[in-house]
């Protein structure tokens, strides 16, 4: 399987589109975190907690979006691009196990995403160092763990879709899933909420099971009532365990479908 990981990593690192996409999103992330309050607060009477809240909150909110979009894009590169070019025919006649091929490519995009997560982690650490804000490890670790698992959920769903959709077309499925999450979590699409005779968010615990993304609010500065309001509890009360089981199930299904897939 190491051979497949190496092959896919070579592909990802040689793909300038992915590198440029990563770099642009990184720039946007920092621009957003810095421009939306912290810079204006430097030298003013704003208190340190508010500074932390602004910096950390803005960074994390954007990094969740960033992480999900990146995961969707990377997930769509698991099988789709090779299927579109016909390269997969050569690969599968050179490597004997389709299961190992799928898991190997998944692990390669996972390694790529992990590196990005580590860079994000260093990034927020540096920002806090520069602006002299306290670095709350507990908040940040919880935030990044959630972010990471959210990325894996999005990546596994898009990876499954990439078996059936050529090129990066499966990213569209990932984006639909992301939209679905926004609807059940925040009612983010007003026309949906206003056209329904009920508040869709009241079914969050049911709807969330199909695409379990956890929403993060740093406990050190968020009102418990706000956390409770957005809290999503799937059929298994621990969201982390549920997300891991969900990812495992999607991966098993992906391997089954990929083994049956005619190329």
């Amino acid at each position: 399987m190491n051979k497949v990981i190496k092959y896919k990593l070579n592909y990802l690192l040689s793909n300038k589109l992915i590198l440029i996409f990563s770099a642009i999103l990184f720039l946007l992330l920092n621009f957003n975190a810095l421009s939306s309050g912290v810079l204006t607060s430097v030298g003013s009477a704003i208190n340190i907690e508010a500074k932390y809240q602004l910096l950390f909150n803005n960074y994390l909110v954007v990094s969740v979006v960033y992480g999900l979009i990146m995961a969707i894009f990377l997930g769509s590169s698991i099988v789709g691009p090779d299927a579109q070019t016909g390269n997969i025919q050569v690969i599968l006649t050179s490597y004997h196990s389709r299961t190992k091929y799928f898991i190997g490519t998944f692990l390669a995009v996972l390694i790529y995403s992990t590196v990005i997560q580590i860079l994000l982690f260093i990034n927020i650490y540096l920002l806090m160092l520069i602006f002299k804000v306290p670095y709350l490890w507990s908040d940040i670790l919880v935030g990044f763990t959630q972010n990471y698992l959210n990325m894996l959920v999005a990546m596994s769903v898009t990876g499954l879709a990439s078996i059936f959709i050529k090129g990066h077309g499966s990213a569209f499925v990932g984006l639909l899933a992301y939209t679905y999450y926004n609807v059940y979590e925040y009612n983010a699409l007003p026309f949906i909420n206003s056209s329904l005779p009920f508040n869709i968010a009241q079914y969050r615990n049911i709807l969330g099971n199909f695409f379990p993304i956890s929403y993060f609010m740093a406990p050190s500065y968020t009102e418990p009532s706000t956390i409770a309001y957005f809290k999503f509890t799937p059929i298994i009360p621990n969201i982390y365990i549920y997300q891991i089981l969900y990812i495992a199930l999607i991966l098993v299904l992906s391997c089954v479908f990929f083994n049956r897939k005619e190329i």
Partner: protein
């Protein structure tokens, strides 16, 4: 020691509003090792479907395919299969050497052991100026030559070539056919499809004609008198495959 194809049938499933299409119907033949088989037939006759069944990329509905009495999977596992698809694009931003090196790794072979042969093939196909170029800069013909090099570099026991000479200049065509002959001479088994029948007279030992998924003729090349084109047309006429001619 041979490739055995026993009563292989394959139907592409239809959708809700579309009937399925039978692509292969009870195809049955044996090809001994060290021989080259030419698969010919009109467009849609089932040549590529048969090839893909042999390669484990498509699963036959019925029948069995073995090589030296083992499943094709074993051949892939041992890195002894070579395949050149009819059309493919390599990953855009990788060079041929990087790609082939990764591929050899997937085949469980060390690229270093084949470096000399790689250089020789690259040189033979006038590919040296392209050696450091990424695939996005390749022309159709150069891409085709690269696809051939990756297929034969490891001297596969079974080599499958789908329209290998399509889009190649006459010199490259001849070099490619010479290399196929070398693979055959070293004991490799080759399956080749092409619409350029004159190419087949140079390399093929046996010919199979497919018509609408049915094997209508299997002949030894040395039994065919005159040109292969005439023999092919005659075979199709006898089997009612040329109503519009």
């Amino acid at each position: 020691m041979s490739l055995n194809i026993t009563n292989v049938s394959k139907t592409y499933k239809g959708g809700l509003w579309k009937n399925g299409t039978q692509a292969l119907c009870d195809v049955d033949f044996t090809l001994n090792n060290g021989k080259t088989l030419a698969l010919i037939g009109q467009n849609g006759a089932g040549k590529t479907t048969l090839i893909k069944c042999v390669l484990n990329l498509l699963y036959p509905d019925k029948g069995k395919i073995t090589f030296d009495e083992s499943e094709i999977e074993l051949l892939i596992k041992n890195g002894e299969l070579g395949y050149m698809p009819e059309s493919m694009r390599f990953p855009d931003m990788i060079t041929l050497k990087e790609y082939v090196s990764d591929l050899m790794d997937l085949r469980g072979k060390k690229f270093g052991d084949y470096q000399e042969r790689f250089n020789e093939l690259v040189d033979k196909f006038y590919m040296t100026p392209h050696i450091n170029k990424v695939f996005s800069k390749y022309s159709k013909g150069t891409m085709k030559k690269a696809a051939f090099i990756q297929a034969i570099l490891h001297n596969p026991k079974l080599l499958v070539l789908d329209e290998p000479t399509d889009g190649l200049d006459p010199v490259s065509r001849r070099i490619l056919l010479n290399e196929v002959t070398k693979i055959k001479q070293s004991g490799g088994t080759v399956i080749i499809t092409t619409h350029i029948l004159s190419d087949l007279q140079i390399v093929a030992d046996e010919v199979i004609v497919l018509q609408k998924g049915v094997l209508i003729k299997h002949s030894q090349m040395n039994e065919i008198k005159g040109s292969l084109d005439d023999w092919y047309i005659e075979t199709l006429l006898k089997n009612g495959g040329l109503e519009n001619l």
